[in-house]
């Protein structure tokens, strides 16, 4: 039997599905497979879709995928939903909205639970995207968990970030805050058939007009003017314009050299994360539950302090000389 990597590269979707499971569960072989897949990845345009719960992310993704299928693309979707902090379980419901895409063999949709990760994605989302990329899916859409103002992890994984805003979700003071509104490459005002959509567009445009680079950018260099686009899934309006804008953004990234720049920044944070993860695992392996219990009690009773305990553990895993 061919190995799983070859089968994935040959377009076998069961091999891809199993690879994703191995990655998500940190099965040791997954890292070796990912190392093999790395050279085949890097072709896909990775698009992040983020926004508040109920903003219309899944519906937008469904319509974007449909439009990409019309343009003959082989499309990947990673949809992240939250894991319960209490039970570790999750209900992954993004497929409900994506029903019409199910059954198309050139669309691969994978639901992921966030598994305690707080940035709006799961810890292994980037690796899952890499596997889909190697399998020839392009573009790959990442739908984040419904976000608040600070879940910006998608920016470190995607090339193009769409922030979806539904009408009537907050006044213009909300819009001026730092956080997810700063990471948008494209704003999508969803549910444009509902009242208030024009006002939301106006508020976002006002926010963007405050950006000094809008007026002062170097005219001789490529410049991305963040668009604010309206969509209505019910009326099937605005979708082609969004896909056009996503493609224009990719062209801008290539032309301006930003694609290479972002890739470099992402690679660096990725390697850091891998090493950090190994350190955490090492710490877990060398510290038993009983040890932890003792340390925690010593610190809470003020017999010891967190800093000297950290020093001791760092020595234990070889990060610090005794």
């Amino acid at each position: 039997m061919e190995n799983i990597v070859e089968r994935l590269l040959n377009g076998d979707r069961r091999a891809l599905a199993r690879m994703v499971t191995l990655i998500e569960n940190e099965i040791p072989a997954a890292r070796r497979y990912l190392a093999e897949l790395h050279q085949y990845a890097g072709r896909a345009h990775i698009v992040g879709i983020t926004g508040a719960p109920g903003a219309g992310k899944s519906t937008l993704v469904t319509h974007l995928v449909r439009e990409w299928r019309r343009r003959d693309a082989k499309v990947g979707v990673v949809a992240v939903d939250p894991t319960s902090p209490l039970t570790g379980g999750a209900i992954l419901g993004d497929r409900i909205r994506m029903m019409e895409l199910s059954g198309d063999p050139r669309v691969f949709i994978r639901s992921m639970a966030s598994r305690g990760s707080l940035g709006g994605l799961a810890a292994s989302t980037r690796d899952v995207v890499r596997a889909m990329d190697a399998a020839g899916y392009n573009p790959i859409n990442i739908e984040t968990v419904g976000t608040g103002q600070d879940e910006v992890e998608v920016m470190r994984t995607a090339h193009t970030v769409l922030v979806v805003c539904a009408p009537g979700m907050g006044d213009d003071i909300q819009a001026i805050k730092a956080g997810i509104l700063e990471i948008a490459d494209i704003f999508v005002v969803s549910k444009a058939d509902k009242p208030g959509a024009d006002q939301t567009v106006a508020e976002l445009s006002m926010l963007l007009s405050l950006d000094p680079t809008r007026r002062q950018h170097d005219k001789s260099r490529p410049y991305w003017k963040i668009p604010v686009l309206k969509t209505s899934a019910i009326k099937d309006q605005g979708i082609t314009q969004v896909v056009d804008a996503i493609q224009q953004h990719y062209a801008y990234l290539v032309e301006s050299g930003m694609l290479a720049h972002r890739a470099q920044r992402q690679v660096r944070s990725e390697v850091e994360a891998l090493v950090l993860h190994a350190v955490v695992n090492q710490l877990k392996a060398k510290t038993s539950e009983d040890d932890w219990q003792k340390l925690v009690e010593d610190i809470t009773s003020r017999e010891r302090d967190p800093y000297s305990v950290a020093n001791e553990l760092e020595e234990k895993i070889g990060l610090r000389q005794p």
């Binding site: 199993r18 099965i27 379980g89 992954l92 497929r95 409900i96 029903m99 639901s111």
Partner: protein, 140 residues
């Protein structure tokens, strides 16, 4: 790691009936038992169910049906799974399944049949005890 990873379950309603409260109760109970539940909603064709199960690489498929179309739709699902070479996914069914149909349903390879009055604990235990724990150690 393989022994502590969450069990992934697809909960789907094949056919045309829109009565999804039971399926939602089950989905919620499985979530509260620490499982990852992919909930696909109502009006699923057998093709959609099998494709979703493959892409999501689930450990179990739970189908709920109240319309009486189970003897038409269940064989189709099992046939498609077989055609795709999938033999490591636990399949179970719930809903209105007359007693006289249960032997035939089980003969299709559907391991559990759960009618009205079933406790959610019973279904949780059934899933925990019957999924193939070694699915990940064997390559597809």
């Amino acid at each position: 790691m393989a022994d502590t990873r969450p069990i992934r379950v697809l909960v789907a309603k094949p056919g045309l009936d829109g009565h999804d409260r039971g399926a939602k109760v089950i989905a919620r109970a499985l979530r509260d038992a620490g499982m990852e539940v992919i909930y696909t909603g109502i009006r699923q064709t057998p093709e959609m169910i099998v494709e979703a199960a493959i892409q999501e690489d689930v450990d179990a498929i739970l189908m709920s049906i109240l319309s009486g179309a189970h003897m038409a739709l269940f064989p189709k699902v099992m046939e498609l799974l077989k055609k795709e070479g999938v033999d490591d996914i636990l399949v179970a069914a719930g809903g209105i399944l007359p007693d006289e149909d249960v032997p035939a349903i089980k003969a299709m390879g559907i391991k559990g049949c759960f009618g009205p009055g079933t406790s959610t604990e019973g279904i949780i235990d059934f899933v925990r005890n019957n999924v193939q724990a070694d699915r990940l150690t064997t390559e597809v």
